[in-house]
């Protein structure tokens, strides 16, 4: 019996390729033998280029897709088991890149309240959760507004609040900050981090922003449906050339440290944070 929050074993997802008439002309493997373990309450990040299979993997975590081979367990529940479907969905909340596809309410606070209302949460508690969730994403002052008056970034924060309000054990975010400005990105990441620390929510973050994963407990890099790199952020970001070969990057601070190493400064590998770099440079002086 798996004990991790998210656990995949030899996961395969295969789909049929069809021609214009709809005839099957072959099959494609979007996920090809993936094993991952994400312990409860931890923070895992998934990196990978466009088309590497990371979103397909994420969709297995709340049973939007079920594996065609191997197994995915969410909090010990096999996602292939139809009887577990709703339990799986309630355990793992999902946030997507485009907020326009996720907002249904005509007023911000009603949209956020929709989830808990469907779970049968008592009214007083719904309002309390709505308030907390909107506060966490910095949207409390817009609670009475219509979502269509909000910008893309603001809508995304409302969508995240909508998932937070259901208090899932695990939250899967598929490029949640792709459309946000720097402050919006920081707020979202901070809100997610708070959630993990204060409520012990497991976080799975898919992103193209390298800076957002430096606090992760583990980082997975995907390419062509496989996990090609796995380790702590420091281990992963020490392998600059390998990462670049998978179309990834490293945080700008790490790049600067690398540029200085190449120019002869004796800096350690895998520097992630600005304070670390400044400290290391002071040591060298």
């Amino acid at each position: 019996m798996p004990t991790e929050m998210i656990q995949a074993e030899k996961l395969i997802y295969e789909y049929d390729k069809r021609d214009e008439e709809g005839n099957i002309i072959g099959s494609e493997r979007a996920i090809d033998g993936v094993d991952i373990d994400v312990p409860a309450g931890s923070f895992a990040a998934i990196l990978g280029h466009n088309g590497s299979g990371k979103s397909t993997l994420a969709k297995h975590m709340n049973a939007i897709l079920v594996p065609t081979g191997g197994t995915m367990w969410v909090d010990g529940r096999d996602t292939k088991d139809p009887d577990e479907l709703w339990n799986v969905r309630q355990t793992a909340g999902m946030v997507f890149q485009n907020p326009d596809n996720q907002i249904i309410g005509t007023v911000v606070e009603e949209d956020v309240g929709f989830g808990p209302e469907n779970l049968g949460v008592p009214t007083d508690e719904i309002w309390q959760r709505v308030e907390e969730s909107l506060k966490a994403v910095g949207m409390l002052d817009r609670r009475k507004d219509s979502p269509n008056k909000l910008s893309g970034g603001q809508k995304q924060r409302v969508a995240i609040a909508g998932v937070l309000a259901m208090e899932p054990k695990c939250i899967v975010l598929d490029e949640p900050t792709a459309m946000l400005d720097p402050n919006g990105r920081k707020e979202v990441i901070r809100a997610v981090e708070e959630l993990r620390k204060k409520k012990n929510v497991t976080v799975i973050l898919i992103t193209h922003y390298m800076e957002e994963v430096i606090d992760a407990d583990q980082v997975f890099v995907m390419d062509d449906g496989h996990i090609v790199m796995h380790g702590t952020p420091r281990e992963i970001f020490s392998r600059v050339d390998e990462l670049k070969s998978y179309r990834m990057d490293v945080p700008q601070v790490t790049m600067l440290a690398e540029a200085l190493r190449k120019r002869g400064l004796n800096l350690p590998k895998g520097i992630l944070r600005r304070e670390e770099l400044v400290e290391a440079l002071c040591q060298l002086r």
């Binding site: 910008s151 459309m179 402050n183 919006g184 600067l256 440079l281």
Partner: protein, 282 residues
């Protein structure tokens, strides 16, 4: 040869409960051939602003001058303006629709009334400019990767041979390599054709690396306007309006505070590395 805004204001739903000033008294001039970045938090008016540049949105008050002429003058040829000022929207790949890449890129010039041969010539040139490989010209645009789709969408605008190219967050959602490829291509295009480029972006690192001038928008007003060095010197004010400076700029400020003899003005990795090495050589 320039594009200029004079005291432009734009009000949404005037006279109703939803009345909102999206732009307030904005003025600036962009000379032909400049590479300009526009930054601002979400909802700061950036997108509204760029839609004024080719007349898609009409200012509530003020003037937009293209090559010295007010585009709101009676009888002004808006159609001609729109093919000279090309606008690439966010997620432009959603606007691809043709059966193959080449036909899709031909759509713009076709609507300009060019002959089929002329259309194809312009389309091929445009695809070449964005670095799109010829072997995929006859492929469906829907079967391409995210980065390639976006190249095709940008080529669709370039095929109309604009003098000004406006890109609204052209790298949103692309992987790091795809992001660098698109921006490197835009930079090359700017150098080779002398085209004016206006880049709207949320990445301060990208803005610092590519543009020569930054216009900062905040609550519908122009807050700052200058070179990247000048603008990012105001990093504390930028933070207050939801923006930031590139990470390396913060490193430089920290180092200076710790007694290093460095100029905190560096905005790119190369500049920062040079400056730090200089302080070590003393």
């Amino acid at each position: 040869m320039s594009i200029a805004l004079e005291h432009v204001s734009y009000v949404y739903s005037p006279g109703t409960a939803y009345e909102k000033h999206a732009l307030k008294d904005v003025s600036f001039e962009i000379p032909q051939g400049q590479f300009v970045g526009i930054i601002g938090h979400t909802g700061s008016g950036k997108s509204t602003l760029i839609q004024h540049l080719n007349g898609l949105v009409r200012a509530t008050s003020g003037k937009v001058l293209y090559e010295g002429q007010n585009i709101y003058d009676e009888g002004y040829n808006m159609r001609a303006l729109r093919s000279q000022v090309g606008l690439v929207f966010q997620y432009p790949e959603y606007q691809l629709f043709e059966v193959d890449v080449l036909s899709d890129v031909c759509f713009g010039p076709k609507n300009q009334g060019l002959s089929p041969e002329e259309c194809e010539k312009n389309a091929r040139k445009a695809l070449e400019l964005v670095g799109f490989p010829e072997k995929y010209y006859k492929q469906s645009p829907f079967e391409l990767s995210g980065g390639q789709k976006r190249r095709v969408a940008i080529a669709g605008v370039l095929a109309m041979k604009p003098k000004v190219l406006i890109l609204d967050e052209p790298t949103a959602g692309l992987d790091p390599k795809g992001r660098d490829e698109i921006l490197d291509q835009v930079e090359k295009l700017h150098k080779e054709t002398g085209m004016t480029v206006v880049l709207v972006s949320h990445s301060m690192e990208d803005i610092a690396r590519y543009v020569e001038r930054i216009i900062v928008m905040n609550h519908g007003e122009k807050m700052l306007d200058g070179t990247p060095k000048e603008v990012f010197r105001h990093y504390k004010e930028l933070e207050q309006v939801g923006l930031a400076a590139p990470q390396v700029t913060y490193v430089m400020h920290d180092l200076k505070e710790r007694g290093f003899d460095v100029s905190p003005d560096a905005t790119t990795i190369e500049e920062a590395a040079d400056e730090i090495m200089k302080s070590f050589r003393g």
